[in-house]
Symmetry: C2
Subunit: 278 residues, 2 copies
Amino acid sequence: MSYFNDKNSAEIVNARMGAETDPRLREIMTSLVTHLHAFAREVNLTQDEWDHAIGFLTRTGQMCSDERQEFILLSDVLGFSMLVDAINNRRPDGATENTVFGPFHVANAPIRTMGDNICLDGKGESCLFEGRVLNLDDNPIEGACLDVWADNADGFYDVQQPGIQPKWNNRGRFITGADGAYSFRGIKPVSYPIPDDGPVGKMLGHLGRHPYRPAHIHYLVTAPGYQKLVTHTFVGDDEYLESDAVFGVKRSLIAPYERTEGGDTVWHSRFDFVLAPV
Amino acid sequence: MSYFNDKNSAEIVNARMGAETDPRLREIMTSLVTHLHAFAREVNLTQDEWDHAIGFLTRTGQMCSDERQEFILLSDVLGFSMLVDAINNRRPDGATENTVFGPFHVANAPIRTMGDNICLDGKGESCLFEGRVLNLDDNPIEGACLDVWADNADGFYDVQQPGIQPKWNNRGRFITGADGAYSFRGIKPVSYPIPDDGPVGKMLGHLGRHPYRPAHIHYLVTAPGYQKLVTHTFVGDDEYLESDAVFGVKRSLIAPYERTEGGDTVWHSRFDFVLAPV
């Protein structure tokens, strides 16, 4: 038996797990402890810095409530959420890429008719969204569900402003027909800051980072026999496109937004979603 | 500009830090993000596992109060606290080794006279503690302060049982004279569990680990011109000596405890503290 020291620390901690420990839990904890200890050694973490980290984690946990998940926010701004998303959603070439789900989806949004306007508060620059849901062979998928959600022109989701925005503002579900096509009206998305009045926002400040997400609209696209697609499309001229606070941007998800001539609709964005089979 | 993917993720996140970021913060965050991302990749962390981790961290934060620090407990049982202690207290050969401070120290304990009994509740097996405070040349240090604290015979510190234990039970400060010697009466230490009714205790259960610390008595030894020594001495026949829940045991800190013949005192433990110069 050898006792703990600053060289063997991770091995000693990991050797302590019982024989009956679930193998997957053992694998995860072994890797986590090894990396955390390597980190402390690598930077020669001081006692004061450790105290500070304990305080930070405690404040982060205590900021969490039914309306606020500060640990998810921390994971987001460290790129950890996007990395987990990327690891779990490796897709064949040609399939639309995933990106982070985010905290603002609401299940069971109203099912709308193609062409409907999901913007219920009359704010923002009107935009026609259209395209098709396809498989990897370029064939349309019938019966696909596009669940759409976006912030309003002021940069807030309806759930962030109950009583101010109409319920289901900038949300809706659309079911494709035999042609796989979808179309609806909404607004040209606008960028917004993630909640930055807590410990994570303060950390971003110390790191010289802003809290903004580039303008985007969320899609959850599902169809029987196909992998669930959780993604956004982004507006190509957004000033935060290369500095998304949560690292959600992928080049393939930057959609065209073209100014239209005349009519009520000011913008037009066309994007096809390609689903990979399960 | 390249966007985030599952290979370059840590580089992308770290490159986002502003030019004005404090260099030490930059060093720490770069290493932390690199190791956390490597961990997620190494184990192919699933979305469900990530959800579970977010829930665990949140519960850990919300368990914290003025009386309970669940994140320190988490750091302790993962060996992280001991590693930080080890990194920051590398001592020359011959100097007494450090170990974790723990949450139970109280500043400004009463200053006692050599030979005093610090056990105020009359419980436990009486033990005479004695020895000397020395420098690396084996010379006595005059004016050293030994600040001592220990649990009572039921395994609780006085601060865990206000109104049940007398204030300052099993605590005291002793100042050495010209001979560097100290002596006081207390009890032979007993083992006790760390608080295991929270998320960290539950985690220990899943890992097949017990929550016990082997019997020990705490010392904070200070003297002008010498490095602060935070340590314990351990009882050599304790059943948890090789499985301390917080990895605090070092071989050099296992003290002799000898049964005495006759008299009020049942045990005798002799230990010299050797301080390194600042």
